[in-house]
Amino acid sequence: MALDIYAEEMISHYEHPHNKGKLEKPDIMLHENNPVCGDEMTVYCRIENGILKEVSFDGEGCAISVGTASMLTDFAKGKSLEEIERMDFNTIKELIGIDPGPARVKCATLALKTLKGCAFLYQHKDIDIATKEL
């Protein structure tokens, strides 16, 4: 993979992330972490009629986790919860334009995992999220 993942776009999103910070009165929020590297991520969502109206993320992490969170939240805004639930690793690869490789896949998918968790929790408040693989 060499250093292609650190394209200027990724670094720019890392240095000036979009949608970063806490969202007031979110309809749903979820915190996830990546215990191996210590990345922390909270995603906040405001949802109207099944559409992700507002989304933000907060936390601490590497360029890849923060950069992808910035790009993903831009991309996901305005999408339906069904569309979000269908997103997967390919969505991330298309967004960042590269396969991050096995060592960094967890960094690159932390925001997606958290966002999908929000979508799931919002629709299935009665199901224990720990039982579901997102």
Partner: protein, 411 residues
């Protein structure tokens, strides 16, 4: 003098090409590479005398038993312990510490007793004591780390010992800071306060002469895989008197003298603690690793690592945005250089190093209380050296650091 070019020839992995590049391996604090002498000894066992040890009344089992026991004799001699009966083989240092916390701890720690550890411990020397404290209603205290010197805080140490802890468990060399604690002095102080001592030697025994007799620690734990040997084998060393009083943790075959329907008696030391078929090839390979370390000489290895660490620190001096965590004094520092670079997360640093073919580690290094609470960082990057590393590899690391700074617009 250690001849690093000659040493490097013994390590086949250093010649393997990945994406057209040789590996620059700067992660020996995580695990060490293996010389051909170790690889061959393990392979020879599989090829020529693979068999179960003890009770086999035939030649190859006798040979395997002999080699396995001989590796324990080598381990005992390496740390100047008494007979091999004081060398209990475990899976690794973690397993050895867990054995002490569970077996010795269950018997000797009671409600309200104090257990003393330090803020620079690896999780393997924290969590077993946390669980023991929870089981017994004991109190777990920490000696703090002085952030200006990256050494143990003297006042905090004295305060910790004033509680007359039952045991003081501390690392000989910190896997993050490289700080080498004065094990002999700390042991003396602990004994004076009535505490038993467990020394975590995982990062010291592979890199310098460690004399348990001189230090006087009651327990020492270390791992074969960090000292050129196979993984899955480690040592708990304690005096016969201590081991005799400890109950076995894992029971079954090989650790008994006799089994009746409702009671059993234990085998002699060290076998009492080694139930089931042991890691025979691990033990034999470990013996080969100790032979190799003796051939090169641990004093020369230590000198080589000091020189390399000095060279690394001097090469990085004045590098803007770069911070190194660990003592300045090289006489109390192992071959470990932990660092951070402004604006670049350690994981990104490691990925960029990887693009140069350099293996380093990034994260909390299984020392979360140290990294998060003392250094107040989410993670750090770490280079660690061993006998096969040379200055050229340090130069490559310096180039990688310059690349990190370029990508993240630092300096």
């Amino acid at each position: 003098m250690l001849e690093v070019n000659k040493v490097r020839k013994d390590f086949p992995i250093l010649d393997v090409m990945y994406d057209g590049k040789r590996i620059t391996y700067l992660d020996s604090a995580a695990t060490s590479q293996k010389p051909v002498q170790v690889i061959d000894r393990v392979s020879e066992y599989y090829r020529n005398y693979n068999s179960n040890i003890h009770r086999g009344i035939y030649k190859i089992s006798e040979k395997a038993t002999e080699e396995y026991i001989s590796s324990k004799e080598k381990a005992a001699k390496l740390i100047n312990s008494g007979s091999y009966s004081e060398i209990v083989y475990t899976k690794n240092a973690t397993d050895a510490i867990n054995l002490v916390a569970a077996s010795w701890g269950n018997k000797n720690i009671g409600k309200g007793d104090h257990i003393l550890i330090t803020e620079m411990e690896h999780h393997s020397n924290i969590v077993p004591w946390q669980m023991l404290a929870e089981r017994k209603g004991a109190v777990l205290d920490y000696v703090s780390v002085d952030k200006s010197t990256y050494t143990l805080d003297e006042q905090s140490l004295e305060m910790g010992l004033e509680n007359n802890p039952k045991i003081f468990a501390f690392t000989h060399t910190s896997n993050v800071l490289g700080t080498i604690n004065d094990a002999k002095r700390l042991t003396k102080m602990a004994h004076k306060a009535g505490a038993a001592v467990l020394l975590d030697g995982a990062q010291s025994v592979p890199h310098m002469k460690v004399d348990v007799n001189e230090i006087g620690a009651d327990f020492i734990a270390f791992s074969s895989h960090k000292m050129l040997g196979p993984a899955g084998i480690g040592v708990l060393r304690a005096g016969r008197d201590v081991l005799e009083k400890m109950d076995p943790l894992i029971t079954g075959g090989d650790m008994i003298l006799s089994v009746e329907k409702h009671k059993s008696t234990w085998n002699s030391l060290p076998w009492k603690f080694e139930a089931g078929t042991p890691n025979v090839e691990g033990g034999i390979g470990f013996g080969a690793a100790i032979d190799y370390l003796n051939m090169i000489g641990l004093d020369d290895i230590r000198r080589h690592e000091i020189e390399l660490t000095k060279y690394a620190i001097e090469s990085l001096e004045g590098e803007k945005g770069l911070h190194i965590y660990g003592p300045d004094r090289l006489d109390i520092k192992g071959g470990i250089v932990s660092f951070s670079i402004d604006r670049a997360h350690p994981h990104d640093i490691a990925t960029i190093f990887d693009s140069f073919g350099i293996a380093i580690r990034a994260g909390h290094h299984c020392a979360m209380p140290l990294v998060k609470s003392v250094l107040e960082l989410p993670a750090v990057a770490r280079m660690s050296f061993y006998l096969y590393n040379d200055e050229e590899e340090v130069d490559q690391a310096v180039q990688a650091i310059k690349k990190v700074k370029e990508i993240f617009h630092v300096g």
